[in-house]
């Protein structure tokens, strides 16, 4: 899919103030997108405003809440802290790409569903993306303490951590035969 609309709707009065547009190629949830964007556009805004992928949320806008977490080449990243142009050529997975194309939920999604691992839902995508990265990372021990440490960048104001933790343990058991 090729998207060639301008990076923002702003028509700057002063042409000198308009930064040069960068062409970037992002593979998102298996689909390749070519975007022409300002160099200071963060990945989160590119996903939400350019591509209509609104599952990743803007919670704090500076990398402290984790609601914007996506996978970049398999690693969890705060997409609000990463420039879209830094992800040029990268393989990105958002919450919209977690399920199979036929709609079958990813084991992490299924476990979150079974354990009611959300209340308001606003942090849920970020929680699931971090959990997915952790469960794919053999260097992270599958103990309660390590999972808690690894998940500590994702805050949930509703305090649903107990159910989130139970969901991650269930997903781990299904994905990795964990305890």
């Amino acid at each position: 899919m090729v998207d060639t609309t301008p990076a923002t709707a702003v028509q700057h009065a002063d042409p000198a103030a308009t930064p040069r547009l960068h062409d970037v190629e992002l593979t998102i949830n298996g689909q390749t997108h070519h975007l022409s964007i300002e160099p200071n556009v963060v990945l989160l805004d590119a996903l939400r405003e350019r591509l209509g992928l609104t599952g990743a949320k803007k919670g704090c806008d500076h990398g402290q809440c984790g609601a914007c977490t996506v996978l970049v080449d398999g690693r969890s990243m705060n997409s609000c802290l990463m420039l879209a142009s830094m992800a040029d050529g990268c393989d990105i997975t958002t919450v919209e790409g977690l399920a199979k194309p036929d709609g079958t939920l990813h084991p992490v999604q299924q476990a979150f569903l079974e354990h009611d691992a959300y209340q308001c839902g606003y942090c849920t995508a970020g929680q699931m993306m971090s959990a997915t990265a952790i469960l794919n990372d053999p260097s992270i021990e599958r103990t309660d303490a390590s999972i808690k440490d690894a998940m500590s960048g994702n805050i949930c104001r509703c305090g649903a951590y107990k159910n989130i933790h139970d969901a991650i343990k269930t997903a781990d058991a299904r994905l990795n035969g964990g305890e």
């Binding site: 702003v10 009065a13 308001c120 998940m151 509703c158 305090g159």
Partner: protein, 803 residues
């Protein structure tokens, strides 16, 4: 319609699982499809709004220079107070909250002007180009000083009770005594203290946001993240000077509310609506986190003082509690917040002679507002502090002092005159004491503390008794609108809003239960003021109590119509007809739900109905401070075990056991989630969440980097949560359930009390160290240092136990 849709096959029965149904948006949440306001697709001509905020806590506003703002790229419109066609006022109850400041700046962070631009970045860049001309004035920044100077937003209020044990009155009025007759007044012990309680930022993960659309008929439609869409509608109408019926406010869901979107969301709705009306377009207004934290109110900080006398057993004789709520610059909801603090000054204890005073201090800060518990948590803290102090003074376990002071059927009247009708708290505590193995752990912890010089552990069990109802009587009403379509599918709409608490799920369950049909047949739609009008906020834990009853009322109306039809049409005795598992059945006769609905349509039975509910029996007389303000009470108790490091002040929550009363639960899974989440949020307020202002009154903690809400790793490793079984609500609530939104928040007081217990171990439990809230590592370390410098090898000096 001329031709009916083919009646679908009945759905499989879900009778076994419906009770713990998952959240109505469960699949949408895990797939990322759940839409919040900021996720809506942009309109072709959409304006984005940003506001310029006051840099001064208190100043005379001399003027604005906005030329550079107007000329900034992308700017469509610049709006000041002079541009408001109607009232420049968005106060929830009393005036004092202008939409945009005029003449006076009353807090740092107050909105002064607004910019509409073609995109958000341009709007925010333009805001920075404004010059605000202001002359700083002396600012009130200290609540205690404010009261000394008579600076209040509303008058003082008292609750007062002199029991027969009161000095001088015991002789003449002996019949009222509920003490054992003939009990001689024993020696008296007096403890007193002051306790400073911090505020709390809501930090809803979805910040404040509203989107307003100018319609073709001079109407305005507002999509808002608000707990109170009817108030958004009303305030928009007043700001625009238009009738209410031209304004529609709609809420599908919020990414968290916690009280912070009860009154505070209205300003955003009104600002977006004003911009949309002026520019005949759609305007989105999302506050960046920093502006959100600067501009909107928080939980009220409180300054409290308590003085109690007890007998030798630690039983309260006289209780005097003074509560100063720091209301910020305007009344907002502070009347109710401070009232509720006063109503909960007893927590679960009979206070004896009681005098409770509530002050509402005015400071030049953001106007503090509703936050889960609504003053209740702050109100309960002084008496819980006193319980610990009494125990130390008398050498008792704090749990025994608490148990001796609980309400009983002999001592069942609160200091404001309401009688308790369900004595659950004593048995509940006994059960939790056993389940949590309190006594053995108490011994083990005492032994641990004797052996470990650096790490100290603490244990505490604290109760909660929380009154359910809005303290403003007229708000205790709700409406619902129910439609059944010709395929048997049901659509329910009600006045409550969904912020993650599972209200919509519970309401769908209630409707499914009336007809005994699978939950899959019932769907809920967004809360809209043009579907159910004149609604109350989703607040005071009342969402399911009120709206569930209204939905049930609508369903019962339709149920009666369907029974009438079946009795007449199929000649079945009406009394023999029941709805059962997707069918209407009678002796030897049955009819699937879907076929029944089609028959009803063809027989021209109306298949939609409204429902209504108003809470009975509640009243309160503000002039006497007496009444029956609550329909019932919800109870609970928690045991927390903590560990402190006396060299750093760091602390950890090791184990939590909770037993909580929700009556007959509407949905145990949702209720457990509310209890766990409420506890965690309460623990955050009491330990890590610290709001800091500079000496000029500007908030310094404006994001998660400096304001610490509980993280994943703050969850206790052992976290046992149980619902109290077998005690349906004594009042006729919806299926005898009880409200669950706020009460569990106060279970976290056990964490703070356990921290005090750990500190007390440093003097072998002979003193009761003061510990202001939040009990951050810094405060704990200071408390440790104070104990170390005060204590001599011998016993602690008399009086040190008040801290």
């Amino acid at each position: 319609m001329r031709k009916l849709i083919p009646a679908p096959a009945p759905l499989p029965s879900d009778a076994a699982t419906r009770h713990s149904a998952p959240h109505d948006s469960a699949v949408a949440h895990v797939t990322g499809r759940a839409i919040y306001v900021d996720d809506l697709p942009a309109h072709a001509r959409m304006g984005y709004l940003a506001v310029g905020l006051s840099p001064h806590a208190h100043a005379r506003l001399d003027g604005l220079t906005l030329d550079a703002v107007r000329q900034s790229p992308g700017v469509i419109d610049v709006i000041t107070a002079a541009d408001i066609p109607g009232r420049n006022e968005v106060g929830a109850v009393y005036p004092g909250d202008p939409l945009l400041a005029e003449r006076e700046l009353r807090y740092a962070g107050q909105p002064v002007f607004a910019v509409v631009a073609t995109d958000l970045v341009s709007a925010r860049r333009a805001v920075d180009k404004a010059v605000i001309h202001a002359t700083p004035l002396p600012a009130s920044l200290d609540a205690v000083e404010a009261i000394a100077q008579g600076l209040t937003v509303l008058p003082v209020h008292h609750h007062e009770r002199a029991t027969p044990l009161d000095r001088g009155s015991a002789m003449k009025n002996n019949t009222q005594t509920r003490e054992a007759p003939g009990e001689a007044p024993a020696a008296s012990h007096c403890v007193s203290g002051t306790l400073s309680i911090g505020g709390q930022e809501h930090f809803y993960l979805e910040g404040q946001i509203a989107q307003a659309e100018a319609l073709d008929d001079d109407g305005i439609r507002i999509l808002t993240s608000s707990q109170h869409p009817s108030e958004v509608q009303k305030l928009v109408a007043e700001v625009l000077d238009r009738p209410l019926h031209s304004i529609v406010a709609e809420v599908r869901r919020m990414g968290g509310g916690f009280g912070g979107k009860e009154s505070q969301a209205a300003a955003l709705g009104a600002m977006a609506a004003l911009a949309a009306a002026r520019n005949h377009c759609t305007v989105r207004f999302r506050l960046p986190r920093r502006d959100d934290m600067l501009m909107t109110g928080k939980r009220h900080p409180f300054e409290t003082h308590y003085e109690v006398t007890t007998d030798d057993r630690g039983i309260l004789r006289d209780t005097t509690i003074s509560l100063i709520g720091n209301c910020g610059h305007s009344p907002d909801l502070s009347e109710g917040v401070v009232d509720r603090a006063m109503f909960h000054a007893d927590n679960a204890y009979y206070l004896g002679n009681a005098r409770v005073t509530g002050h509402r201090a005015m400071t030049h800060t953001a106007s503090n507002t509703a936050f889960r518990g609504f003053g209740g948590p702050q109100g309960m803290m002084p008496i819980e502090a006193a319980m610990d102090d009494i125990a130390r003074r008398l050498g008792l376990d704090p749990l025994d002092v608490r148990k001796r002071n609980l309400y009983t059927d002999q001592k069942d009247e609160t200091h404001y005159g309401q009688r308790l009708d369900q004595h659950l708290i004593g048995p509940l505590i006994d059960q939790l004491e056993k389940q949590s193995d309190y006594r053995h752990r108490r011994q083990a912890i005492t032994a641990f503390n004797q052996e470990n010089p650096i790490i100290k552990r603490g244990l505490a069990l604290t109760p909660v008794k929380f009154g359910i109802s809005f303290t403003a009587q007229h708000l205790n009403q709700a409406g619902a609108l129910l439609a059944i379509y010709t395929d048997g599918s049901v659509l329910i709409n009600h006045g409550g809003t969904e912020m993650g608490q599972g209200l919509h799920t519970k309401v769908c369950q209630i409707v499914a239960r009336v007809f005994d049909i699978p939950l899959g047949r019932v769907r809920i739609s967004a809360t809209r003021t043009d579907k159910v009008p004149n609604t109350s906020p989703t607040a005071a834990s009342s969402g399911a109590d009120l709206n569930g009853m209204a939905a049930r009322d609508a369903a019962l109306t339709l149920r009666a119509r369907l029974l009438d039809l079946a009795a007449e049409q199929y000649r079945q005795p009406r009394d023999s007809l029941t709805f059962s598992d997707g069918q209407l059945i009678a002796d030897g006769w049955s009819m699937p739900w879907e076929a029944l609905i089609q028959a009803a349509y063809l027989k021209r039975v109306p298949l939609s109905a409204t429902g209504f509910y108003s809470t009975p029996t509640i009243h309160y007389d503000k002039t006497t401070g007496k009444g029956h303000p609550f329909f019932y009470y919800a109870y609970g108790a928690a045991v927390s075990e903590v560990e402190i490091d006396t060299l750093t002040g760091e602390h950890r929550l090791r184990r939590v056991d909770i037993l909580h009363d929700v009556g007959d639960s509407l949905n145990p899974a949702i209720d457990r989630g509310q209890i766990e989440g409420g506890f965690i949020q309460g623990a955050g307020w009491l330990t890590t969440e610290e709001l800091k202002w500079d000496d000029k009154g500007t908030l310094l903690t404006t994001g998660p980097a400096t304001y610490k809400i509980p993280a994943y790793s703050d969850t206790p490793p052992v976290f046992n949560v149980a619902l109290l079984e077998g005690h349906p609500c004594s009042q006729a609530t919806i299926y005898r359930s009880k409200a669950v939104g706020e009460p569990p928040f106060m279970l976290a007081l056990s964490v703070w009390s356990a921290l005090r217990d750990a500190l007390s171990s440093l003097t072998n439990y002979t003193t009761s160290p003061a510990l202001d809230v939040p009990a951050t590592p810094e405060r704990i370390l200071l408390a440790v240092e104070a104990i170390k410098s005060a204590s001599t090898p011998a016993a602690c000096p008399e009086g040190a136990d008040h801290g």
